[in-house]
Symmetry: C2
């Protein structure tokens, strides 16, 4: 089968790989549609030390299930594959398993391929109401839901989202659907306009009103090293900064304001699939606005080149 692979010798390439064979606890999935995430691009710069088939955002059809539970069904899949045996798993911190594998990121081939295998435990059915082009967003929407899963967000308390990239826009749509009062701060009029069908307040960073300050909750979804400093300037004393940025490099920052203003800087990563699926099914999220381009799998390298362009939002790949 065809697959987009990366290894530190050969770089990114379109490869021919053996069709994977599911283990006893796994199902075989034919990928219908996949998305390229910023993490995939970080992997291609060698950051995470991963070698293998890339990709973890997808929707597919189960073509082999020894227990027949999912055969023929359209599914999405949770990225993290825990060992269920270490101390962290025993504490039910499955997504933080000490021996974790992660689809297309760590010890497990990903979804930018014709076929992928995944443990049955990781598979979630996609309701008919959700299209393939919506279903590829389940994983990033789950990551947005995670914020509300981890921390108490109050319907009365203003939330500022910093960043108008894919992540910022998805978090905005998600928290808006959860009834929370969000404002998005970005640097691109055309990206902020993607939210225009929703009643979401947006500001260009250079036009933030003077009285927009002392914000109870600020989410850093900039993916940039300057995001945290902006967030610490905007948040009110004893407020929360949700840290969604996973850039794997050192930043230079003065953290004294965090102690002095008693701010809470709260890390947040992957999230639960079931509420993300429910949220897409029950809300008319303008996810189509986030899709910049779609390529066939055999043009996967072009898809990555497009994904790296400055104005691109989501790029999809169809096997």
């Amino acid at each position: 089968m065809q697959a987009i692979t990366y290894d530190d010798q050969e770089e990114l390439q379109l490869s021919i790989r053996e069709k994977p064979v599911p283990a006893q606890d796994e199902v075989l999935i034919k990928v219908r549609l996949a998305g390229i995430c910023n993490t995939d691009m970080e992997i291609t710069s060698g950051m995470l030390g991963f070698n293998g088939v890339l990709g973890h955002e997808f929707v597919g059809e189960v073509v082999q299930d020894n227990q027949d539970k999912f055969t023929g069904r359209r599914v999405v899949g949770e990225v993290n594959i825990p060992c269920y045996d270490c101390q962290r798993c025993k504490r039910r911190q499955f997504r933080h398993c000490a021996n974790i594998k992660a689809l297309g990121m760590r010890g497990k081939d990903g979804v930018l391929a014709e076929y992928v295998t995944l443990p049955r435990e990781n598979v979630f059915l996609v309701p008919n109401e959700i299209t393939d082009k919506e279903a590829v967003f389940v994983e990033p929407i789950a990551a947005a839901v995670e914020i509300a899963e981890q921390y108490h967000l109050k319907p009365s308390e203003k939330i500022a989202i910093l960043g108008d990239g894919k992540l910022g826009l998805i978090i905005a749509m998600t928290l808006q659907a959860l009834g929370l009062p969000v404002t998005v701060i970005g640097r691109h009029e055309n990206k902020l306009a993607k939210l225009s069908s929703l009643a979401i307040e947006t500001y260009l960073e250079k036009n933030i009103p003077a009285d927009f300050q002392d914000i109870p909750v600020v989410i850093d979804a900039t993916g940039s090293s300057s995001g945290l400093e902006s967030a610490l300037n905007l948040v009110r004393p004893e407020g929360k900064v949700i840290f969604k940025t996973t850039i794997a490099k050192e930043i230079n920052i003065n953290l004294a304001p965090l102690a002095i203003n008693e701010v809470q800087l709260l890390g947040s990563r992957c999230g639960p699939f079931a509420p993300a699926i429910k949220l897409i099914k029950e809300n008319n999220l303008p996810l189509g606005e986030l899709i910049t381009a779609q390529y066939p799998l055999k043009e996967g390298l072009k898809a990555f080149a497009k994904a790296r362009e400055k104005d691109t939002l989501k790029v999809l790949v169809k096997p």
Copy 2:
């Protein structure tokens, strides 16, 4: 009167100042004993832009109170002087007042002097059971109590305190007195030994056991730029790092582990005086162990020199 003053022209010096005159809402206090804090030393490097009489840790006797409530009584005093009028004060965030003054730090002369004035609202009586040498520790113990005031610390969850300086040792004594299971990690055998009268686990940093990891709560009281990285290495996924370090300089750090491990980095600063006074009264804290030296006010410059020496813990100054 004599006073230890700092300004960016004249540096640190022993000055002669007018005895202060209390405003209508203030009392006049004759200082009995004062302490030198790391913040005082930071001020003398020009960090906080403060000019005036230094010092904020003290015990004194009220010698003038127009309402006669405190006259003749032994008192300590809350450092932060809010305006009671700004938006933050209206939200009852008094210690984060937008127009805050702070004793010996911002807009208000401090306690390294024969006399000091303070708003009546900031004054707390010292019970007879507490000696002067204990009372000077009310302010830093309040800052330690603040951790439990802000965040839910569970009696069953291990707390690692990084740092065996004054702050680390005071936090250890305080949380131990609150029934919490603390372990102190330091670099100085002689400083860790100050806790030997208490049943507190201590380790030299170089001798941390291999199984001492995945700690639910880690407190960075190192006051050093490397403390946060050590804390992020020690804390378990979804755990709390309490950030007590207020070094006013940029640090270089990779914060990706904070997002990936969904850690909570929680700022913490000053705390409530009433529970700190109660805690000293009801517990036999070995605070005397923390006192390295005491100088008369007229030798205040020597006191600062001593306070800056590497092995010094608390230095006291007696007017």
